[in-house]
Symmetry: C2
Subunit: 349 residues, 2 copies
């Protein structure tokens, strides 16, 4: 009963109409003033702002979205937010887009391509202004993204490269990752070098390809038995390592496609009674934060993560501002670096 000007009760909050009535102006004027339009006199604007303050007015962003067709929301889809890589990327992304007035609607696909598709659809029909996706779709299945591109909603792929497609993307130079890891082992003097390969997404494939290239470049035997497939998790790394330990001759060094698989490999070695790096060397990739990091501390390849997220945010914002057509197709690639720790050494024999 404080304000006797007829502000309706039982309302969620004050609206521009409430302010307009109280001030005896039109709703349109209030709307303009609130958005800082130049078409309003300073005096009116001040009155409006003051009244809004008093009434505790908060704009209803969804009502606004309904007419402007913009939501100020960025949809983000990751396979696993609890994986430190995606968590850090998301943080960098959130930093950049929130600074620009956008919010992040986060979806975790749990590595499930179908769930991922559903989430992308949901985000599109939620009219997000842009999308950032780390996809689990096989690199040979760019259909989802071709369709998405048709929808004209700007989107940026993270850590994924689709051959022959021109999507906006922010990636790590995975050929360099594979090269660094493999050549590190070569330089230590290894010649029996195995590889635990990841699932059919570009980081795994490119690292594998670089592994093969590096061996060939150094005229080292490529033994098919020494390439095993994993799923980028600890368990599959462990299994792959056991398989590798069963080959004859046995490799003296292993390049695991990512850190979890590298950790799994270390576990397998320990269980098999082998010392790392005395008996066998292991290098991985990702420099993930791993509580399960066993001893020895894993030699790995590192690359920036928050920085990668920020780059994705910037690229997306640029694409949104340019308008959906302009958006020059671009891929931003980050360089990895080798982190030599304790799981690699020259071959013993």
């Amino acid at each position: 009963m404080k304000n006797g000007v007829g502000v309706a009760i039982n309302r969620t909050g004050a609206t521009i109409v409430d302010i307009a009535r109280k001030l005896g102006v039109s709703a349109m004027t209030v709307s303009r003033a609130l958005r800082g339009s130049q078409e309003v006199s300073d005096r009116t604007r001040r009155r409006v702002l003051r009244c809004a303050e008093e009434l505790g007015y908060k704009p209803n962003r969804w009502a606004r979205s309904l007419v402007t067709r913009q939501t100020s929301i960025i949809g983000v889809v990751v396979p696993d937010i609890s994986h430190s890589f995606f968590a850090e990327v998301t943080r960098g992304l959130e930093e950049v887009v929130s600074r620009a007035g956008y919010n992040v609607l986060l979806c975790d696909s749990w590595l499930d391509v179908e769930k991922e598709k559903a989430e992308i659809e949901m985000l599109v029909s939620s009219m997000v202004d842009g999308l950032v996706i780390a996809s689990e779709q096989s690199e040979t299945s760019p259909q989802v993204f071709r369709k998405l591109k048709d929808s004209k909603i700007p989107f940026v792929l993270i850590d994924r490269f689709f051959p022959k497609q021109s999507f906006l993307a922010v990636v790590v130079d995975d050929l360099e990752v594979g090269r660094l890891a493999t050549e590190h082992l070569v330089e230590l003097g290894h010649t029996r070098i195995a590889h635990i390969q990841g699932p059919p997404i570009s980081p795994a494939s490119l690292r594998h390809r670089a592994y093969l290239d590096a061996l060939r470049r150094h005229q080292i035997e490529v033994n098919r038995q020494w390439v095993r497939k994993g799923r980028f998790d600890i368990q599959s790394g462990r299994e792959a390592m056991f398989a590798l330990l069963g080959t004859k001759p046995r490799p003296t060094a292993v390049f695991a496609g990512n850190d979890p698989m590298g950790i799994g490999a270390l576990y397998a070695c320990r269980e098999a009674g082998l010392r790392v790096p005395a008996d066998i060397s292991v290098v991985a990739a990702g420099n993930i934060e791993g509580a399960h990091h066993p001893n020895p501390f894993l030699t790995t390849i590192d690359w920036p993560r928050e920085e990668l997220g920020r780059a994705a945010g910037s690229l997306l914002l640029a694409s949104i501002q340019e308008g959906s057509d302009q958006a020059t197709d671009r891929v931003k690639k980050f360089a990895p670096r080798l982190l030599v720790r304790q799981s690699t050494a020259p071959p013993s024999a």
Copy 2:
């Protein structure tokens, strides 16, 4: 020109009106059919569903929100999504709420209480259906949440306890955390036990209190010099440890309030030329995934994280369904457990 029934061009997508016109029924009937209302004949419903499919109709959730006053969005505020604890909690949370048809709007406060306040306000004015918050507000400053409670928007606090308040919350039993850590050192035979305390949020305070309680219970000297304050990060843990190493006599064991500070403490020991655990023992809390985990591998206290997130989600959903008034004030508390690894041992002397 495929459909000659006058579907407007230049539209974002088909609307219920489009479907209605095409079928010669009212928009209302379409709306009902789409939502599976029982008040529509089977035949009509089928026709509507089929037509919606053909037109690629997607409901506009914001238009719906405008009238239902529900958004199907859960706002989440964390101090640092790249911290594995919050990342894992968020994952568990997302799992539960997404299954119930909600989406997560994620905000990272970067440990900044002002940014946090702004984000909460933003989420409230975005009419989220509920909030989950891991706050950096000092435990003596529950004002933000008292206000939030007045707003009748259901919210759940994570990993934070505000004395004398009755907010919904999901927490770790931090007194038990402190007890486990301290008694582990006591049982190893230590009597000169130091503590590196965290910032003024409940996990830090409760662990500190439990540390004091445990010492008193075992009639061990409480030396004020042996309690130092940190900020829950590596750097402050390192500094605090240096300070502790400068005291005389020097403690033989340290309980670091969380893992980053514990890791910082290990760094300090190494830099000071001390061996852990031979010269000094370190126990921490959190079992974080830490790439920077130095050797020796940190003995710490562990607790469930995704599970904690799921509990927060369930609690929030229940609160949303009960209606804002009913919401019984409840706190769900999880038990921690000790993980003995390599950074603790009996005192050498």
